[in-house]
């Protein structure tokens, strides 16, 4: 029997995340952490790297690092030490980055990432190798062809970002596919947001992702890995890794060898490009930072942070399923957004929890997404939502009219009842509806006759006339009932 040559390529992917911590000020100085401010307006001698300026660590950043470690099931170190990572780049004024090396703040955790199956119950376990704290570099504004620049200038630097508290999270190479890599990044974002450790907005650079990508050899050993840098959206994490895997497969299929290298994904061409290797000389000569003292993280301190940690998305989802009878999917949508979940719980305490979920994760979330507004900036209060759901439940407003009401409340912040009153969106009262139905029957005698003769298909047409006459504010069920009753003889 002839054995067909079989090549199965098994991807081996590990991710490295850089996360801006949600502090007011920088890691080692009291300059404010800002986004989109005029360049070099939030600096001081420490974050500009002036000689003699001394760093002091931000206690809130340490606390957020510990909290993230606990959420990722890590061991929090009893002792952690900052170290200098030495390299030269224009965005690094001291000639070293303060980071952590052999004594990071957390080690050895895991993340159970939802695998994206419809029932929402299957997960992929991704190991967390380590989590450490460091400072972000400044921002290089690379020079294009600006006429104002003379030839010797290579880049322009804005130090507002320099020194922003940064948390690095490194996973084990446990991730089996580009899709799973995207799901991992996305789930990490949900967790970090839920516990308030970071806003984790990739567009703002608050969450950045690099990947180590290789293909397992036929004998099961690891192949040569390449490093894929700075994929700046969840979609590009998936697409970039897919493009790099395709490139490696092509090399291997042609009998070639993958070279260890650092690459950059270009979403415009959907291709990866090699970066100049000189920029990433991995000879950082780490040594303990003499300007900072070690961190001693007592068990009591760690326990106290654990006690204060908000509920994780997983636990919240399970609770919403159990307590409110939501489907795992609906519960997951709400649990992924801490503010929305809190809003939901306020509403669900007053009205039917399933109705509340439908309105909040459906119409309300759509309005938020459309406008690009945050929940905190929205004019709709939980009280408004309760009132609206009650109006629908009592038959005072039809569901479709209620949508219009919600959009109006969203726009103006008026109470739902006032909007109903002002816009005349209330359901048509019973006796009024009776008259409308009579009117529709007398002005459409042919159709009415056909219904009397048992042609039920025409009921839809007559219903349409009723809705038109009431501008959609009739209770559909009752209108239909009335029509059939009146035409049953």
């Amino acid at each position: 029997m002839q054995t067909q040559e079989r090549r199965t390529y098994q991807a081996v992917i590990g991710l490295e995340f850089h996360v801006h911590l949600a502090t007011q000020t920088k890691m080692f100085c009291g300059c404010r952490v800002t986004y989109g401010e005029p360049p070099n307006t939030h600096t001081c001698p420490v974050c500009l790297g002036h000689p003699g300026a001394l760093p002091v660590a931000n206690e809130k950043a340490i606390e957020l690092g510990v909290m993230a470690g606990l959420a990722l099931n890590c061991d929090v170190s009893q002792r952690a030490v900052f170290a200098r990572k030495n390299y030269f780049y224009p965005d690094l004024p001291k000639g070293y980055q303060i980071s952590q090396f052999d004594e990071p703040i957390c080690t050895g955790g895991y993340l159970d990432v939802p695998a994206g199956t419809p029932d929402g119950d299957e997960t992929i376990r991704v190991g967390i190798t380590r989590l450490h704290l460091e400072e972000d570099a400044a921002k290089n504004v690379h020079v294009g062809t600006s006429g104002r620049m003379h030839g010797s200038v290579g880049s322009l630097v804005d130090f507002n970002r320099g020194g922003t508290p940064l948390m690095e999270i490194v996973t084990e190479p446990d991730i089996p596919s580009p899709e799973a890599a995207r799901a991992t990044a996305n789930y990490l974002k949900d967790i970090l947001r839920a516990i308030g450790v970071s806003e984790a907005d990739m567009e703002k650079g608050q969450l950045r992702c690099d990947a180590n990508v290789s293909i397992r050899n036929p004998d099961g050993s690891f192949g040569t890995k390449t490093e894929l840098k700075n994929m700046n959206s969840f979609r590009f994490v998936e697409k970039g890794i897919a493009a790099e895997l395709a490139r490696q497969q092509e090399i291997l299929a042609g009998g070639g060898r993958v070279e260890q290298t650092t690459l950059h994904y270009d979403p415009e061409t959907d291709e990866v490009h090699e970066l100049r290797s000189k920029e990433f000389a991995h000879d950082y000569r780490y040594f303990p930072e003499p300007d900072l003292l070690p961190l001693e993280l007592s068990r009591a301190y760690v326990r106290e942070i654990g006690d204060r940690m908000p509920e994780l998305p997983d636990a919240m989802r399970a609770r919403f399923v159990g307590r409110y009878g939501l489907s795992p999917y609906d519960a997951g949508v709400l649990a992924a957004d801490r503010e929305l979940a809190a809003f939901y719980e306020e509403v669900a305490a007053e009205v039917d929890p399933k109705q509340a979920s439908n309105w909040i994760s459906g119409d309300f979330r759509a309005l938020l997404n459309e406008s690009g507004a945050d929940l905190s900036g929205s004019k709709v209060t939980p009280g408004h939502m309760v009132e609206l759901i009650r109006l629908v439940g009592n038959g005072k407003v039809s569901r479709s009219a209620a949508r219009t009401v919600l959009a109006e409340v969203f726009k103006t912040g008026e109470g739902p009842s006032e909007v109903v009153e002002r816009e005349g969106l209330g359901s048509v009262e019973a006796d009024e509806l009776d008259g409308v139905v009579d009117g529709v029957i007398s002005s459409n005698p042919d159709e009415a006759e056909r219904v009397r003769n048992g042609d039920k298909k025409v009921v839809g047409f007559l219903m349409g006339q009723v809705m038109k006459a009431t501008r959609g504010n009739a209770d559909g069920g009752r209108a239909r009932e009335l029509l059939l009753q009146k035409l049953s003889s």
């Binding site: 502090t23 007011q24 000020t25 100085c29 009291g30 300059c31 404010r32 005029p38 360049p39 070099n40 307006t41 939030h42 600096t43 001081c44 001698p45 500009l48 002091v56 660590a57 931000n58 206690e59 809130k60 950043a61 340490i62 002792r79 030490v81 030495n86 390299y87 030269f88 780049y89 224009p90 504004v141 600006s146 104002r148 620049m149 010797s152 200038v153 290579g154 880049s155 322009l156 630097v157 804005d158 130090f159 920029e279 000389a281 000879d283 000569r285 040594f287 303990p288 930072e289 003499p290 900072l292 003292l293 070690p294 961190l295 001693e296």
Partner: protein, 93 residues
């Protein structure tokens, strides 16, 4: 003994351009520093943990509160070159 090759490597990591004479001179100086450190090995330090800082302190932290910042004029004043309120730095080759 530190080889000339090692001196060149360290110099390139530090972005220092050394002449041949300076490489020999630096090699000698680095040797002297290593010799001094070597002396510590003569002591019995089996029970002494590695120490990076002479202060016997830990957890020296600051609250997450903002402090006065420099204006962009102040920040850029010592810069050899600036364009549009940005530090202009030489091309890296």
């Amino acid at each position: 003994m530190i080889s000339e090759e090692q001196v060149r490597h360290v110099a390139s990591l530090a972005r220092l351009g050394l002449t041949e004479d300076e490489i020999r001179e630096m090699g000698g100086q680095l040797d002297a520093i290593l010799d001094s450190i070597e002396k510590i090995r003569e002591l019995d330090l089996a029970d002494t943990p590695p120490t990076a800082n002479p202060l016997n302190l830990s957890n020296v932290l600051r609250p997450d509160e903002s402090r006065p910042e420099l204006t962009s004029e102040e920040a850029l004043a010592p810069a050899p070159d600036a364009v549009d309120d940005l530090f202009a730095v030489p091309r890296i080759d």
